[in-house]
């Protein structure tokens, strides 16, 4: 879920935006240091891809709907910082074009969505795959759900800090909503990774930056 402008107070905005913009520029530096020509168009096309993925929403009961993110999937393909970088840009455009989230809340939203699934997700994956190398699909699925959990935890925290909702009372509904969308995201990620493994394994060897 993306937080619209107006729902976070000054201190929360300050903290989240600082963290997020620093990560963004750090990622930019990291990408440019190692970038090769091949990577440029795929960064662009991947941004278009995740933007398209997130603009398609599926209806759920009670008038709500979910859409997928593709963030963790992209970080498995391109690496954590490239994924964060383009996800940040995609979230920025989503806030402008689709009214998913706001401009000043971009920091918070990119932490909840991009930071948790691209960067944390990627390193969790790296860690777990070393311990359990034979359970790749399971690990991918679990991590997607886990990052959705972290994201919704941060979301509740931010809204709570801004005095809009109470943490204790809202945590459960927010978490359960995100676990549903997280499971769909998990299926999506597992399916796509296997799909690519079968049809274009070369793509999985792209350098992870």
């Amino acid at each position: 879920m993306h937080i619209p402008d107006g729902f976070l107070d000054t201190k929360t905005l300050f903290i989240t935006n600082t963290v997020s913009y620093l990560t963004f520029f750090y990622s930019g530096r990291k990408i440019l240091k190692k970038i090769e020509a091949e990577r440029v168009p795929i960064l662009g096309l991947s941004t278009a891809f995740i933007f398209l993925i997130s603009s398609i929403s599926f209806p759920l009961p009670f008038g709500t709907s979910i859409h997928l993110l593709g963030s963790f999937f992209i970080s498995l393909i391109l690496g954590p910082f490239s994924a964060f970088f383009i996800n940040f840009l995609s979230l920025f455009l989503q806030s402008l074009l689709l009214s998913h989230g706001g401009i000043l809340t971009l920091g918070a939203n990119s932490i909840n969505i991009a930071f948790s699934s691209c960067i944390l997700g990627f390193y969790f994956y790296k860690f777990l795959i070393r311990i359990l190398p034979n359970f790749e699909n399971f690990i991918i699925f679990i991590i997607t759900i886990f990052t959705a959990f972290i994201g919704s935890f941060l979301l509740t925290l931010e809204l709570n800090f801004s005095g809009k909702i109470s943490f204790q009372k809202s945590f459960l509904p927010i978490i359960s909503f995100h676990l549903v969308s997280g499971s769909f995201e998990g299926l999506f990620t597992v399916f796509l990774i296997n799909f690519i493994k079968k049809l274009k394994p070369k793509l999985l060897e792209v350098e992870k930056i």
């Binding site: 020509a37 398209l52 706001g102 109470s166």
Partner: protein, 203 residues
């Protein structure tokens, strides 16, 4: 296939269209900050709304289009409304945020619909890593609609072959779409290089 581009009102001859994009963007950010920082005052909000409505009018953006864009935000508002009900918070807090949120969106819509996309992309050439960012935005703008068309075509072909569209078929479509984007990126790279582009241009 025909698409409604987001900047279709940017070619009108209106008030905001004539302003420099960078000034509009800075004003927008400043405006969003003001909304958050200033203590709530209904008269202030009323004045702001009036000014924004006048801007909407003299920039020749149809009111109906504006409404359609505003409505997109309602699901998010509904969720937060539900949560603040649950939290037994004072609802005036929620309505205050709602006003701020709608006014912010109002500002965003005014900025976006009066700025041509290529001018919008140019704004970002000046920020750090601007070359990379504006190139990514250019690709996004150029290929988003093409990907969407490809998705529609594949969907139709699936339906015409008697396949029901469910989550599984959506997954297959996304996978194919990603592969196609990747293959396209390889061809685009060749086109860029053949026209003399190289990675040094990003640095």
């Amino acid at each position: 296939m025909k698409h409604h581009f987001i900047d279709r009102f940017a070619y009108e001859r209106g008030f905001l269209q004539a302003l420099s994009p960078i000034i509009k963007f800075i004003t927008l950010i400043f405006f969003l900050f003001l909304l958050i920082i200033l203590s709530p005052n209904l008269y202030f909000y009323f004045t702001i709304s009036l000014i924004l409505l006048i801007l909407l009018f003299i920039s020749k953006i149809p009111f109906f289009y504006f409404l359609k864009r505003i409505i997109l935000i309602t699901p998010f508002l509904a969720v937060i409304f539900f949560l603040s009900l649950l939290s037994h918070k004072n609802l005036s807090q929620f309505f205050l945020a709602l006003i701020r949120s709608v006014l912010s969106l109002f500002g965003v819509i005014l900025f976006l619909s009066t700025t041509k996309t290529e001018e919008f992309i140019k704004i970002f050439e000046k920020v750090p890593y601007g070359n990379l960012i504006s190139l990514i935005f250019s690709f996004l703008y150029r290929y988003f609609y093409i990907l969407e068309d490809e998705l529609q075509k594949m969907k139709r072909s699936m339906i015409s072959k008697g396949k029901k569209l469910d989550f599984k078929s959506y997954l297959i479509l996304s996978g194919l779409l990603f592969l196609r984007s990747y293959e396209r990126s390889e061809r685009v790279l060749k086109a860029m290089i053949s026209k003399g582009w190289n990675i040094e241009r990003l640095k």
